[in-house]
């Protein structure tokens, strides 16, 4: 086992533990904090993959901005376990059923997949901005522009909602 793998396993445990924490903790603030931990672990994975730019953008955008907003909203709305209404039995039952079905589907999907054992061409510059930019503006230019239009419309929507009062 080389250090690379050691770090990989540690990060994986943290990421999965964090993800579990998100759904298992009853306090929404704790959930958000777990999610942030997960983001950090995922960013670590990016770094292991030599995608430093993605890693840091992940932190800036998700951990730094979006989660701050989440936390902000949760603090302002005063959401917490005491106030959250208890779900009805029927709803809980439906949840169990649908979760179980999803689990089965996933299991079936995993069963047929093959682990890719051939190493990807590990160029050290693969995660750098220049490479990323090349790909984004050539191969993926259409989806990229579409998503920017999506964001623009979301922004306009937010302004409209915010202007209401």
């Amino acid at each position: 086992m080389n250090p690379h793998q050691l770090v990989f396993w540690i990060l994986s445990v943290i990421a999965i533990g964090g993800a579990l924490g998100v759904i298992l903790s009853r306090n929404p603030v704790a959930s958000v904090l777990f999610l942030i931990v997960t983001f950090f672990a995922v960013s670590g994975h990016y770094i292991l993959l030599n995608a430093q730019f993605l890693a840091i953008v992940n932190i800036i955008v998700y951990a730094g901005a979006i989660m701050v907003l989440f936390l902000y909203v949760i603090m302002l709305m005063n959401l917490n376990g005491d106030v959250e209404p208890q779900k009805s039995k029927l709803l809980q039952f439906a949840g169990i059923i649908s979760g179980g079905i999803l689990f089965l589907v996933l299991l079936a999907a995993f069963k047929t997949t093959q682990l890719n054992t051939t190493p990807i061409n590990a160029s050290t510059s693969i995660g750098l901005i220049s490479e990323l930019g090349q790909v984004l503006f050539t191969r993926f230019v259409f989806p990229f522009e579409i998503s920017s239009i999506l964001f623009l419309s979301a922004m306009v929507g937010a302004v409209v909602i915010g202007k209401k009062d």
Partner: protein
């Protein structure tokens, strides 16, 4: 799962938070409580509570001989104690029918205008502090220190001066006091300009104060506003002009008025009044010099000769003459003959019309003495003024109203 702000059920319903501003909140100067109903940072409604330093001035005044009330008045508006002292003396003098000589009047004017400057300086610099500009506050206090020194030279104390007696002053002004006034007049305009250029035209400050805490002239009058706060709303009512006392009619000065009654107007009105006060002091010094030039014996005039019956005799006489000693005893025992009667008399204090409603039954103490305390009267407009504004505005508005707790709570 207790890590959240406890809100009562009702406040979740109404989507607002109750915030307790004060009494130990720094912006409430330690003595006012405002229970604010907040929608985010916006104030939906406010309920002020006062009385945290209620000291029962009026009750005490009923148990004290007339001359012992002077120290009490010091502690009403302690930012400008001498005005209150003078107001009290003028009230009693009016009741007794004493006419003070011109020199005494002018000396009083000097002292009163100095204390007005001191009062306005505190108020305006505290607006600065509440908007976060601390430095100008310290600059301004250097000049307050000059004023204190003048008071100290005249009467021996800085803040609660106990200055003046019925009919005039306890003692003549020493030359040192005049020297200090002159140095103050020399140094102050420069410092005041500095203070103004730090704040007056600074965009941050202007935006913090413009359109904040405004009140219309009609509402201000209906709330019985007086003083700079009324003038900022555009009413040029000033007791010094409307009902002159202490020979204010001899002086040439302007009444600065604002238009919107907001914090910025109040700030500007106070600043402008400081400049007017400086000019009044200069005029008073000139007038005194003219009086003394015309008649050198005027130099020794510091109380009304006709007030002899109400003024302690000179100490030399007390030590040597029997009649003087007996009269001195009578005076200290408080057995001066005050005519029975009722009088309301007002002076323009730092905050507005400071009124004294005195009922005398001829006894040793006032039968009833009621202080019209401008702060108390206009603080009730505070909830109306800050309704709908932000928390920061409420803080600035409070300091711009210049609420002096001693005066407010009596």
């Amino acid at each position: 799962m207790s890590a959240h702000i406890h809100l009562d059920e009702a406040s979740i319903q109404k989507q607002t938070t109750t915030l307790n501003l004060g009494p130990t909140h720094p912006a409430t100067h330690g003595v006012f409580q405002n229970i604010l109903e907040m929608d985010g940072e916006r104030i939906v409604s406010a309920v002020p509570t006062v009385g945290y330093i209620h000291r029962a001035f009026e009750k005490i005044a009923e148990r004290r001989p007339y001359y012992q009330i002077t120290p009490l008045t010091d502690r009403l508006n302690y930012c400008s104690s001498p005005i209150n002292n003078m107001g009290w003396h003028i009230t009693v003098e009016r009741l007794l029918g004493i006419k003070t000589p011109k020199r005494v009047d002018y000396l009083r004017v000097i002292i009163m205008e100095l204390s007005r400057i001191a009062d306005h300086l505190v108020c305006n610099s505290v607006i600065g502090v509440d908007t976060g500009a601390l430095t100008s506050f310290v600059y301004v206090f250097e000049f307050r220190e000059h004023i204190y020194e003048i008071f100290e030279a005249v009467c021996g104390s800085r803040l609660t001066t106990n200055i003046g007696r019925f009919g005039g002053f306890e003692r003549n002004f020493p030359q040192e006091a005049f020297d200090k006034i002159n140095t103050f007049l020399e140094a102050f305009p420069r410092g005041m300009k500095e203070f103004e250029s730090l704040l007056t035209r600074n965009r941050i400050f202007m935006e913090r104060t413009m359109g904040v805490g405004g009140i219309s002239a009609e509402r201000a009058l209906n709330y019985s506003f007086t003083g700079p706060n009324l003038r900022a709303a555009g009413v040029d009512y000033d007791v010094r002009v409307a009902q002159p006392y202490s020979s204010y009619e001899d002086f040439d000065f302007k009444i600065p008025v604002g238009t919107t009654g907001d914090v910025y107007d109040r700030f500007l009105v106070r600043n402008q009044e400081i400049w007017e006060s400086v000019s009044i002091i200069k005029q008073a010094l000139e007038k005194i010099a003219a009086l003394e030039a015309a008649d050198p014996s005027q130099k020794e005039v510091f109380y009304a000769p006709e007030a002899d019956k109400y003024h302690l005799p000179p100490k030399e006489d007390v030590y040597t003459k029997m009649e003087a000693l007996i009269f001195h005893f009578k005076m200290v025992m408080g057995e001066i003959e005050v005519l029975p009667g009722e009088i309301y008399s007002a002076v323009e204090g730092g905050n507005g019309e400071v009124g004294y409603y005195l009922i005398s039954d001829g006894g040793r103490t006032p039968y009833r003495l009621h202080f019209r305390r401008p702060c108390f009267i206009y603080y009730q407009a505070y909830p109306e003024i800050i309704q709908g504004s932000l928390l920061s505005d409420a803080v600035v508005t409070m300091s711009s109203l210049n609420l002096i707790a001693g005066e407010l709570d009596a």
